[in-house]
């Protein structure tokens, strides 16, 4: 179902955690709320899920504003960051919990819970207690528990942050597969731009309780709206031009030496990092950062770098394709 936020605001005393945000997530989309800690993304998620009261504004799920409705009435389900599995219940009963609360009989709810555990490949461990499972397994059980009632919207609060990097990538694929299979709306909070890029149809970059930009991942990366977005998703140089406007240039679109073009400035090499398929070269250039030296990065294809290797402290002309420069709003 569509989820729409209208002037949604959350205040705690004198601090404003979420500051009048508007957002529309269409039905069946995978939406990531992306931002640094304290940007209001988790508070927003909790307001959508009915775990936090709304100070002003509205959450609209499907046809109507949800007001003070309980999560079950909203048709949302939340997967908690710590998983929040009931330690005294085995996996099957954890998954069957919400069915039990709805008064569904033992045989039926157990069968449904097992089917759901099967969907996340955990049916063989149905009798285990949460404490007897690894982090990744607990996460699958938490996912099954959230999905068992057939929610219209699944809310995920940093679901992958507690996993090790390899497992994180695997679970990421699995989340995407499940979302495609079930066709329901996923709203996923994360502070990892990589995760947001990999999963979403809609990336919502938040900062200081406001939405900086909401767009598909490609637009976010190609045309970041603000300097904050460009910095947060990485891979961009933010350059202040002589006319005081700021542009973002992708680090892989920087040009060196002979290719640098007429607008090139001299830049000093301050770091060289070999990354396999590419080399990341750090520069300091006077005159591109307003006052003082600007720290810039160029990502150079490893083959091209091998042809023209650089040394630390060397000064080379540094420029960029005019077409690659994207103007930022203040």
């Amino acid at each position: 179902m569509d989820v729409e936020l209208i002037r949604l605001t959350k205040r705690y005393g004198h601090t404003t955690a979420v500051d009048g945000i508007d957002l529309k997530v269409r039905s069946g989309a995978y939406c990531c709320l992306l931002g640094p800690s304290g940007c209001g993304k988790t508070t927003t998620l909790r307001m959508i899920g009915g775990h936090e009261t709304v100070s002003s504004g509205d959450v609209v799920i499907g046809p109507k504003a949800v007001g003070d409705a309980t999560p079950a009435e909203r048709g949302t389900a939340m997967m908690f960051q710590s998983y929040a599995l009931f330690p005294h219940l085995n996996c099957r009963d954890n998954v069957a919990f919400s069915l039990k609360m709805r008064g569904i009989g033992k045989t039926e709810r157990r069968a449904k819970a097992l089917a759901m555990l099967d969907l996340v490949q955990m049916a063989h461990l149905a009798e285990r207690l949460p404490a007897q499972l690894s982090g990744g397994q607990q996460q699958r059980v938490a996912l099954a528990r959230a999905l068992v009632t057939g929610p219209k919207v699944l809310l995920l609060d940093e679901p992958l942050s507690a996993l090790d990097p390899f497992l994180r990538v695997r679970m990421r694929t699995e989340l995407k597969r499940l979302q495609a299979e079930l066709g329901i709306t996923f709203i996923h909070v994360t502070h990892s731009q990589e995760e947001a890029m990999a999963l979403s149809d809609l990336v919502v970059v938040m900062n200081g309780g406001r939405i900086e930009q909401a767009a598909d991942p490609r637009t976010i990366f190609e045309r970041p709206a603000t300097a904050f977005v460009a910095r947060f998703i990485g891979g961009h140089n933010i350059i202040r031009l002589p006319d005081a406007t700021e542009v973002a240039v992708r680090a892989d679109r920087m040009r060196l030496g002979a290719e640098a073009g007429p607008g090139a400035v001299p830049a000093r090499v301050v770091s060289i990092e070999y990354q396999g398929t590419s080399v990341h070269v750090g520069f300091e250039a006077d005159g591109l950062g307003g006052s003082g030296a600007a720290a810039l990065t160029a990502v150079i294809d490893d083959g091209a770098y091998a042809g023209h290797p650089l040394a630390l402290g060397q000064t080379v002309p540094l420029g960029w394709d005019a077409a690659a420069a994207h103007r930022l709003s203040a």
């Binding site: 899920g49 939340m78 929040a84 009931f86 330690p87 005294h88 919400s98």
Partner: protein
């Protein structure tokens, strides 16, 4: 008692030496083991002197004989026969059975009231009081009654509940009753009231302790799963507070089963209890008979505790 304790002292001290002759051990391992025994020794000693020895002595004395003026160290089971005298007669319950039933009744009533009150208070402090400072303050308030002695706390009920006490006076003054209510003091009611007053805190503390460990996100997860407040209480909070409930129940049950002061003072010395029987026998210097009663009481309390832990484990399966 001291003699027995002292004679068993060297046995503990020698224990490290016992492992020493084992040939294949290196000197280092042996030293480590000796150190481990040494570290366990102080607690073992305390247990021995204050727990094992008195219990063993009670058991031994319960099999001794006695007459009007002395205890005779000769083996006999007469004390136990006396305890259960007439109990094989099915038509009419014997004194011991009737005494136990009366004590069990107090125990059950006290347990129910302390559990309900203790759980409610602990729940309020753990879940509805947000600040840690306030929780601590309320917790200290719960312990204020313990600043005075048990007996004083009991006696303070007397001017309140007596025939011409505050309660009766007030009710008569308001015209709600014409003559004083008789059963307020020196009755089952006053005994249970005093028991609940004295023992509720033993329920509050362990239950609060269990509740404080419950992850708040579990409550949110239950809410997210569509559970109502009562469903969350019954399906999440109660099962996770069970260890605290069990510990609190053990405290209350053992305290009430062995009590003789409260039943004496609040029952006007008219109500029987197992503890009271033992106390009367002791004051009559019938120590072997008192010891036999104490052993039977110990067995009964242990059975209750075993049964209770079984029940709680079984509940886990549901």
């Amino acid at each position: 008692m001291t003699d027995t304790a002292l004679s068993s002292l060297p046995a503990i001290a020698k224990t490290p030496a016992v492992t020493a002759p084992t040939t294949s051990l290196t000197a280092k391992t042996r030293r480590r083991r000796a150190l481990a025994y040494l570290q366990a020794a102080p607690l073992a000693l305390v247990f021995l002197v204050f727990f094992v020895v008195p219990l063993a002595l009670t058991l031994i004395v319960s099999f001794w004989s006695y007459n009007e003026y002395e205890i005779i160290p000769a083996f006999t089971v007469q004390n136990y026969i006396d305890v259960f005298e007439g109990c094989l007669n099915t038509a009419d319950a014997c004194t011991t059975v009737r005494t136990y039933l009366s004590t069990l009744k107090f125990c059950a009533l006290t347990w129910v009231f302390t559990l309900v009150i203790g759980f409610t208070v602990a729940y309020f402090v753990a879940f509805h009081v947000r600040s840690k400072t306030m929780q601590m303050a309320l917790f200290l308030v719960c312990t204020i009654p313990f600043w005075t002695s048990n007996v004083i706390r009991m006696i303070s009920w007397i001017p309140l509940l007596g025939r011409n006490g505050l309660v009766n006076d007030t009710l008569m003054g308001m015209g709600l009753i014409k003559s004083p209510i008789e059963g307020l003091l020196y009755s089952d009611f006053s005994v249970v009231l005093a028991f609940v007053h004295l023992n509720t805190v033993f329920m509050i503390v362990p239950i609060f302790n269990s509740m404080a460990r419950i992850d708040r996100s579990l409550i949110e997860a239950a809410y997210d799963s569509g559970a109502t407040g009562w469903q969350t209480l019954w399906n999440v909070v109660v099962p996770l507070a069970k260890p605290g409930i069990a510990i609190g129940s053990i405290f209350v049950i053992t305290l009430v089963m062995g009590d003789f002061v409260t039943v004496g003072v609040m029952g006007g010395q008219q109500i029987a209890s197992v503890g009271k029987v033992i106390q009367v026998q002791m004051s009559a210097l019938q120590l072997p008979a008192a010891a036999a009663n104490a052993v039977v009481l110990l067995g009964a309390v242990m059975l209750m505790i075993v049964a209770m832990t079984r029940l709680i484990d079984l509940r886990k399966e549901l």
